[in-house]
Symmetry: C2
Subunit: 126 residues, 2 copies
């Protein structure tokens, strides 16, 4: 593995909320790492393909990345103000989605679920 990939991996380890590719690129550059934007994108792509980072799409179409704790299928509860993220494991919904699909004759069911809210500290600060 190249030093660039190691660097990307390292930043992802340092933060625990979702960051955009460009934010990560800035942080790397600021931290003294010499790395191109394209490489950051490529690395994040690879990490997401291998299931090592989670991808979140904001409403304005930007992709945010975050190292994920668990590799199994899971969802996120994200604070819309500070970005704090809790990984959610929801057997209930998994089963629900599956049964809904089956009830309508659909197969190969997949689903996307994201939960947004305002976390406790952001709610009180406001």
């Amino acid at each position: 593995m190249t030093k660039q990939r190691a660097a990307v991996s390292a930043v992802l380890d340092r933060v625990d909320d979702f960051r955009s590719a460009q934010q990560l690129h800035d942080e790397l550059r600021t931290g003294g790492d010499s790395i191109g934007l394209a490489t950051v994108y490529r690395t994040l792509q690879a990490l997401s393909d291998s299931g090592d980072v989670d991808v979140l799409r904001t409403e304005d179409g930007e992709n945010l990345f975050r190292r994920c704790q668990r590799s199994e299928h899971h969802h996120h509860l994200v604070c819309r103000t500070c970005g704090r993220t809790v990984e959610i494991d929801g057997p209930t919904v998994e089963a629900w989605a599956e049964s809904i699909g089956a009830a309508h004759g659909f197969v190969d069911i997949e689903h996307t679920i994201e939960i947004f809210g305002t976390c406790e500290s952001c709610a009180t600060t406001r």
Copy 2:
């Protein structure tokens, strides 16, 4: 109401699966309606704000639109091959999402849920 908005509304009535803004624009032009792309976007934006159309984000970041049957909060079961869409009403998940959020001290909970699958006819044709 202008004739352009009426035209957009009319196409949306004619189809019942998700279409992109540009697809709708093409169909309007082909159908003889003179309308600008910007107007299509503006109209769709307005319709989605007023809850008259549903918006779906594809994985490559494109917005798809569809006239929705029910105005209340609901989700979609979409065939990934033909685009056939079933509107889903899920009190179970609504409650689930709410309780998950509350359990972690989050307030103002929102969620996005989409279910994808292959519908019966597409599964057999394949």
